[in-house]
């Protein structure tokens, strides 16, 4: 899966890069205005580290990359967003759908535990959970990319109507109501590129 993962990471980096100013602006509305810069820093080390380790076992590489991403980004976003990267190395080409389901399950479990966050709190979980639900329902079919993309778009726009129960946005006068969550937006970008690359 090295070449698929290489596409995932390189394309995610490119799209995060071209969206980083917009992500900063989005974070300006609900946070301290630096999510775009922060996730770009994270994706920069992810890309560099992946390209430097093309011959290592994928699982080892992804665990190491996840740690570098966490250190580079810091904050709540670093520790939570690096979790999917940590789990993603457990992909199994021969058992693709089931292994993706397990990656999502494990990621969601760890994000919930570490972030003390649940569905509907206006966080990155509100992207992961609907995708997992779809994958579970369609586990015996070939997953359709455009269906996944629809779910990603819809899940992201739904974060607009949520009041933040976690993070800094929880303390805003309107709890971020009316704005999409910046972490959910960058997660949507990264997951879109993920399925684009591996399916």
């Amino acid at each position: 899966m090295h070449s698929q993962y290489k596409n995932w990471i390189v394309n995610s980096y490119d799209r995060i890069k071209s969206n980083s100013v917009e992500l900063d602006k989005l974070d300006q509305l609900v946070g301290d205005g630096d999510h775009g810069s922060t996730i770009l820093k994270g994706m920069t080390v992810v890309k560099q580290s992946f390209l430097d380790n093309l011959n290592s076992p994928l699982d080892d590489t992804m665990v190491a990359i996840s740690k570098q991403m966490r250190i580079e980004m810091g904050g709540a976003s670093g520790i939570l967003m690096s979790i999917f990267f940590n789990e993603s190395g457990k992909i199994d080409k021969l058992n693709l759908t089931q292994s993706i389901i397990e990656i999502f399950e494990k990621s969601i479990e760890k994000i919930m535990k570490r972030g003390k966050v649940k569905a509907g709190d206006k966080s990155i979980l509100d992207i992961y959970i609907p995708v997992l639900e779809f994958l579970r329902k369609n586990s015996d079919l070939k997953i359709e990319k455009n269906k996944i993309n629809e779910i990603l778009s819809l899940s992201l726009s739904k974060t607009k109507d949520m009041k933040a129960q976690v993070g800094r946005a929880k303390f805003l006068e309107e709890k971020g109501l009316g704005f999409i969550d910046p972490g959910a937006k960058s997660t949507e970008i990264i997951l879109r590129e993920y399925f684009e690359a591996i399916l």
Partner: protein
């Protein structure tokens, strides 16, 4: 944005480098990371060590409080972002020869997640380390939900009092227990007058009209009791002190330690006027003030505003509060 920097990516590193050069008699970088500040002369290892991990952009806290009688280490994150759990763990590891370590964490989402991770990593390595969560900001969660509150300027009392007690050789459990008592006896309320500018985005952190203030706003512009028109110091202090008195039962004869912290762009002139009104308010209730701390310590760039923190103190707390410290930026 007008800020005197070289390069956005190097703000924190350039700042820390300047800090260490200027205070090389008292502090140094750890050998593993230039994001970990240690005391030049480590305390005796038979004493418990105290450290904190926090985001930068709030100077002089917390790097300025590393020193004898205060903190043993500060793990420094990027601007307004907690350092990763991995890095905080390295800070704990640097102190592992000590008789236990207490990791102080101010209650903000990223700080807590990374602090908890660091403690888990320490436990895996059989290092004796505990986390002490600090919270004091009464505007951020209602009475009864104290542990949901944000860490504000009143966390200073915990840093200083535990730092001083640790020098006497008291064990970790006694320190943790006193830390919790200090936390329980502390209340903080802040007011924002004007927003600072984020060095990363170059934008104001929050929006306030020229004639408006915001009572209860957190250090990053988080919401509290809401906006009101600016008025006299006396009126503002009455509003704020009434809120603090609604939250905590003070009684005649109590001795409080006040801390008036400026947010970065409020003059000492104003902070002293504020203190004068706080002292008068307390005097009406026959509450005595003991050695207040008044200056800009926990800042958010060029934000204007201040916070009032009160510690309802015991004699032991007062003695520890005024004990000597060599930390470069803590001056009572």
């Amino acid at each position: 944005m007008k800020k005197i920097i070289n390069n956005k990516d190097n703000i924190v590193d350039d700042m820390l480098s300047g800090y260490i050069k200027a205070n090389s008699d008292r502090v140094k970088f750890s050998s593993v990371s230039k994001r970990i500040i240690l005391r030049k002369q480590p305390k005796n290892t038979n004493k418990t060590a105290i450290l904190i991990g926090n985001g930068s952009g709030h100077e002089p806290i917390a790097m300025g409080w590393v020193g004898e009688g205060l903190l043993d280490a500060n793990v420094v994150g990027d601007i307004f972002a907690a350092p990763s759990g991995d890095l905080i763990f390295e800070g704990i590891e640097a102190l592992k020869e000590n008789s236990g370590t207490i990791l102080l964490i101010s209650n903000h989402a990223g700080d807590v997640m990374n602090g908890e991770m660091a403690i888990e990593l320490a436990k895996e390595d059989n290092i004796d380390a505990d986390l002490l969560l600090m919270y004091d900001d009464i505007a951020s969660a209602p009475k009864g939900d104290e542990d949901q509150r944000r860490g504000g300027a009143g966390t200073t009392f915990i840093y200083k009092i535990l730092g001083a007690l640790s020098e006497t050789g008291e064990n970790k459990e006694t320190l943790l227990s006193l830390g919790k008592s200090v936390r329980d006896q502390t209340r903080t309320l802040s007011i924002a007058v004007a927003s600072g500018v984020s060095p990363i985005s170059g934008e104001k952190i929050f929006q306030l009209d020229d004639d408006e203030v915001f009572i209860g706003m957190g250090v990053h512009g988080e919401s509290g009791y809401g906006r009101q028109k600016i008025s006299s110091s006396k009126k503002i202090i009455k509003f704020m002190m009434d809120k603090i008195f609604d939250d905590f039962k003070y009684k005649s004869g109590d001795v409080v330690i006040p801390f008036i912290n400026g947010s970065g762009a409020t003059t000492l002139m104003e902070l002293l006027i504020v203190y004068n009104d706080v002292d008068d308010y307390l005097a009406k209730y026959k509450i005595k003030c003991f050695k207040p701390l008044i200056n800009e310590y926990i800042t958010t760039q060029e934000s204007a505003g201040f916070s009032i923190s009160l510690l309802n103190s015991t004699e032991q707390m007062r003695k520890l509060w005024i004990s000597q410290s060599s930390a470069p930026y803590f001056h009572l």
